[in-house]
């Protein structure tokens, strides 16, 4: 049989269809320029100004999605969507760098991420009309599925050449401390972000410009000019509002349910 769904599957598919419709709607709105002003996130301003300074000083800006990996069929830490966020940021930052003439250095800790980064950065230079400025040596694979080895590699990069800034947005855990503290001791401007609860406190300790949780998925939109990149923010805002409403309604229902003799919510 091609399709043998249960009610939960049908509900999941309906939710996916609604979100797909929202994504399309918001993309069309963003193309028409109907985007709301964004709340300020100083971390991305730090990265933008570092790219500007890099064009003047000639010092590279380091970009990294961390040791994010694609898929986790072997049970390892799944950071595929964090990697996508890191890739989109690297692409957008490379675009800005190409337009401004600022050098960049991109590193990764997963072979598939490395190949995707090479493509994304080269594509960004091509889109900016600066294909001849693309340097494949500027996209480096430092490790593969080994967070500690990757962190050691980034520390080596910090020591090997003076950098203007380092933007590390993606899948980072406790290994971030090895890199973040090293960068802080070198007075390097760092922008860090992840969704991992193990990595976030260490980022806040070492890096004033920290991007927290879902904000990493907004990174590209904050660097890009107004347009399609902002559509993702619109969809996320709608979904976040829906989840908050659901939580509040669920909470109120749970409060009044015993006194009114209503059926309990599933799973409670």
């Amino acid at each position: 049989m091609l399709f043998s769904p249960d009610p939960i599957t049908i509900l999941t598919l309906l939710v996916i269809l609604v979100v797909v419709a929202l994504i399309w709607l918001h993309h069309a709105r963003a193309l028409r320029g109907e985007v709301r002003p964004q709340r300020p996130l100083p971390a991305f301003e730090t990265l933008r100004s570092a790219l500007g300074r890099g064009a003047e000083t000639g010092q590279a800006v380091h970009l990294s999605p961390g040791a994010s990996t694609l898929g986790a069929a072997d049970g390892s830490r799944a950071t595929s969507t964090e990697l996508v966020a890191g890739l989109l940021l690297a692409e957008q930052a490379a675009n800005e760098a190409a337009l401004r003439g600022a050098p960049i250095l991109v590193s990764s800790g997963d072979i598939v991420a490395h190949l995707a980064l090479r493509g994304a950065v080269r594509q960004a230079y091509q889109q900016a009309g600066q294909a001849e400025d693309y340097d494949p040596a500027g996209v480096q694979l430092l490790a593969h599925h080994d967070e500690l080895a990757y962190a050691s590699g980034v520390s080596t990069l910090y020591g090997r050449q003076p950098l203007e800034a380092s933007a590390m947005i993606g899948g980072f855990g406790q290994e971030f401390l090895l890199v973040g503290e090293d960068g802080a001791q070198r007075n390097l401007a760092q922008v860090a972000g992840t969704t991992s609860s193990a990595g976030l406190p260490l980022m806040i300790l070492t890096t004033p410009a920290t991007v927290i949780g879902e904000e990493i998925y907004a990174a590209e939109a904050y660097l890009a000019p107004p347009g399609p990149a902002q559509a993702r923010l619109l969809t996320q805002d709608v979904l976040r509002t829906a989840v908050i409403v659901l939580l509040v309604v669920g909470f109120l229902y749970t409060l009044i349910q015993p006194s009114l003799g209503l059926p309990p919510l599933p799973g409670l």
């Binding site: 969704t195 300790l205 004033p208």
Partner: protein, 221 residues
């Protein structure tokens, strides 16, 4: 350029979108033929990753051989890397061991002699790096407090409280254990769930936008 006018991009987006949709439907529990196709696609992905890894190894080796040849800065580290790579390849592929059915080659990374090399070389180095985290976190905490960051101060204070609360004499005090458990079960868990829900929404939207071809970070033109 419009997606419809760019055939190369359109084909790549269609392949990525259809493959992703099949795996997504299988994950949602669609079952039937979707489960079979999804299993095949995941196997293909593993093969592609393995081939990618091979190219990655060749690329890393070529870069470091060039560095050694040109006597670039830190070329000795490059030599060490090439030697390490060769040791692991030889240990993993060409180091036969006596087995029940005669001489056999190691079947996985978890077997001798690869495991021996890992235990004697890699694990001590990794453990040392992990041990360094204690000193790094102290240094980071002092710097953060000096910076006057309110968020960092909260993290340091909570970390200190948790450390003190773990001490046996403190744990033995009345109500301390129950209070800590309540904080862990309600305050900390609520914050962690908030972070998780927000990140899941972001990941969900980012994933669907990739499937629909609005974002194409995989595309190499």
């Amino acid at each position: 350029m419009s997606l419809l006018r760019d055939a190369k991009r359109l084909i790549a987006v269609l392949i990525a979108g259809v493959a992703g949709l099949i795996v997504l439907l299988d994950f949602a529990g669609a079952g039937g033929a979707f489960a079979i196709f999804a299993a095949i696609l995941v196997e293909w992905a593993a093969v592609i990753t393995a081939v990618g890894l091979l190219f990655g190894v060749l690329s890393v080796a070529a870069t470091h051989v060039q560095r050694i040849g040109a006597r670039s800065a830190d070329w000795r580290y490059s030599l060490l890397l090439i030697l390490g790579m060769l040791v692991m390849i030889v240990a993993g592929m060409f180091f036969p061991l006596p087995g029940r059915a005669g001489i056999v080659l190691p079947a996985s990374l978890a077997e001798v002699p690869i495991r021996t090399v890992f235990r004697t070389l890699y694990e001590p180095i990794a453990s040392s790096l992990l041990a360094l985290l204690a000193f790094f976190s102290l240094s980071a905490a002092l710097r953060a407090l000096g910076r006057g960051s309110a968020e960092a101060a909260v993290i340091v204070v909570v970390a200190m409280l948790v450390l003190v609360a773990q001490l046996p004499p403190v744990t033995a005090l009345p109500a301390v254990g129950a209070t800590l458990q309540w904080l862990n079960d309600y305050v900390a868990l609520a914050g962690a769930r908030g972070l998780l829900i927000g990140a899941a929404i972001g990941a969900f939207v980012a994933g669907l936008r990739v499937l629909l071809g609005f974002d194409t970070p995989y595309l190499d033109r």
